[in-house]
Symmetry: C2
Subunit: 420 residues, 2 copies
């Protein structure tokens, strides 16, 4: 009988799950994912997405920039490039960061495929399964997803209307360490935070930097919105105050265009080599085509004026959203008053479940992101993120009005239930 | 005394190494890395790099394609896009793959930032530390580096002048499983392999597919060079024969331009969701700007003729290299005779150490990649990869002549040493 036994099937996997890596169990569709398919229908006012509004970007100018680039430097723009990113663009990135008080060496900049890739690479070099990442409560859904895939435990730090609370940070560090776990870094968005819209004041920045330096915890400062302040200039970046302990992430997605997928990390020299090697393993090199398009644009076009135009466009939309929240939302709801960026964070009475309410909002032709998406721990069920970046002011008013109606109905249904 | 004790330093890391993830220990600079800095000096004939030769690509045409794209569809081209990749481009990718006998559904295509990102994502969903990846001996250095970062053990499979040896594959599976290890996939480049230039015959493809299917081992078919056959059409892709067990990787880097960073994976439906989620976590979405540039090019330009132009250009260079190897290399050296792609693999007498010989080659103004770079196990020390893709035929002859002189001197020095 042994002659007819298959020769090599010993050890062959019996099912698909057995063939995946352990981390693949953490690759599950997010709740936002299916939502966006619905929210992108034209009849829905989407207050859900974070797409920049490109209507202020002159397309004729962009077309000329790219055409000229290919004609004058096509052989380089279409070729493989440096794993770390193009040297010229890295110099220009330092000029952009100087606007927020950062003095940096282009040698310490790594260009990435959007700052999402920087989040991925930082996770890759730091996170062993079970390690702790500290993050604001609430925090950016895309960052939480990446930390989760690397099997980190995200511990949320207390925030208030001014952002991260230093004493909350101290308490979180103490309790995580008391539980015997390693903290790898604090992830924070100090400027016009996603999803809260909150701006962290200068004195808190200094205090948080001191805590993290003392405790041996890197700060990952994610700053896509820093140049999009409408009312007054933002405080200096945290990296401006600490070049040794801060990993700074920047992006052109909100100040030029996200379709380029050009972001960057400015890193302490001690981390640079590992991040470059990790990036080369991940994508070989970032796109010269995108990088040199942005480099040409920065060299030849009035990019500071363009950012000012974006700010004007978003300010009008922010105002439309805050005014219509005042007008259409119930008095028991609270929301942030962002001085820049894309988002307002709305907190409803705790009996409202914003995820369960979503289908009713869709029927009323408006979409948002339920608050639980921005927490790693299931919190946030009575909150929601509203984006004002993309729709027109008229559509924003229309959407907030519709949503206010849904919220009020839900509240009276709940209180009616309580009475019954 | 206890009052002056710092409050929160318990558990703080003491040094940098302690702060990294375990996998970071595998992020070490490769030997090729420092080499490329030297090889890119203008006075050196570089037979080391794998940069496509873009001199056959009409830059005026490319400039027009991009300009028109931005003017007619800039709002989409510069915006965030789908995590899976643009639907139109995924359809066109299926047309390109049809040239190699593949029938595919655009729904099963994931667009990636070069096919390197696909290698990264596949590693991410499959590889737990200690898992085994099977690969040709020798194999692509960039793939080996990625597998290594995910802490896989690469087991090389025997090859001959026709590529992977099916009995060698059977033996490798048997011995790995006898050692109690899990095999996650076979990584193979069947067409004009990097670094060997070898083309795997159709009958071996079928046999290897059968072995892997029977044994429950996915085949990762990496095919950047399949359309760059000079002498005759390549056999059908392995994926054409097996849509359930083959993960196929393609790229526009060698048929259009690498600066776009557009590659793709065509995957069995059972793997698609996890790969898309992993990609979104890694880069959010691939660049619409690059994707739609390639899509416009494919839609409006004679891309098949362009590939034929590239083939002509590379054929002349391949011929120059093979002729000058005949003329200038010692009779005891052997080399492959590629029918397409970019590379010739040279095997010298075993007493020659090609890594130790590199400085002498640089002095003689020629560079190559030492064979050990293409092995995970330190093998290959008397081999080297020569690329003919980038230099002119005259420079190739010059470089091979200089290198032949270095090799002959090294051989007589060695045999002189033996006589002493």
């Amino acid at each position: 009988m042994s002659d007819v036994t298959p020769r090599f099937t010993t050890g062959a996997p019996q099912n698909l799950e057995e063939r995946f890596a352990g981390r693949a169990a953490h690759m599950q569709p997010s709740e936002i994912r299916s939502l966006f398919a619905v929210a992108s229908r034209p009849e829905i006012v989407s207050l859900a997405g974070g797409m920049p509004n490109l209507s202020a970007l002159p397309m004729g100018m962009m077309a000329d920039v790219v055409q000229k680039l290919i004609l004058t430097n096509g052989a380089e723009a279409l070729q493989y490039g440096s794993g770390q990113g193009h040297p010229k663009l890295r110099e220009q990135i330092c000029e952009v960061m100087a606007l927020e008080g950062i003095r940096a060496n282009p040698d310490d900049v790594l260009v990435t495929t959007g700052s999402q890739q920087a989040l991925d690479l930082i996770s890759r070099i730091f996170i062993d399964p079970g390690d702790v990442v500290l993050a604001e409560a609430p925090s950016y859904v895309g960052a939480l997803g990446t930390f989760h895939q690397y099997e980190a435990k995200v511990v949320h730090v207390e925030t208030d209307e001014l952002g991260l609370v230093p004493d909350g940070l101290r308490a979180a560090i103490k309790s995580v360490r008391a539980a015997g776990r390693k903290i790898k870094f604090l992830y924070t968005i100090p400027n016009y935070q996603n999803p809260s819209g909150v701006l962290l004041p200068a004195d808190r920045r200094t205090e948080i930097l001191t805590i993290c330096r003392t405790e041996g915890i890197f700060v990952v400062e994610d700053n896509p919105y820093g140049l999009l302040g409408f009312d007054k200039p933002s405080p200096n970046a945290m990296r401006a105050e600490d070049s040794e302990n801060v990993i700074y992430l920047g992006s052109f997605s909100k100040t030029i265009a996200p379709g380029m997928r050009v972001g960057w990390a400015l890193v302490p020299p001690s981390l640079k080599e590992k991040l470059i090697i990790a990036s080369e393993s991940s994508i070989l090199c970032p796109s010269n085509f995108s990088q040199l398009t942005i480099s040409s644009y920065l060299a030849d076009q009035p990019w500071r004026d363009q950012i000012a135009s974006f700010c004007e466009l978003y300010k009008v939309r922010r105002d439309a959203m805050l005014e219509s929240l005042d007008e259409y939302f119930p008095a028991s709801a609270k929301w942030t008053k962002p001085g820049g960026g894309f988002y307002v964070w709305v907190t409803l009475p705790p009996e409202i479940d914003t995820k369960a309410m979503m289908p009713k909002a869709i029927v009323a032709k408006v979409a948002y992101v339920p608050g639980t998406a921005f927490y790693a721990d299931g919190f946030g069920s009575w909150s929601m993120r509203l984006s004002y970046c993309y729709p027109t002011p008229e559509r924003i008013r229309e959407g907030v009005k519709a949503l206010g109606g849904v919220v009020k109905t839900e509240m009276s249904r709940r209180s009616g239930n309580q009475l019954n």
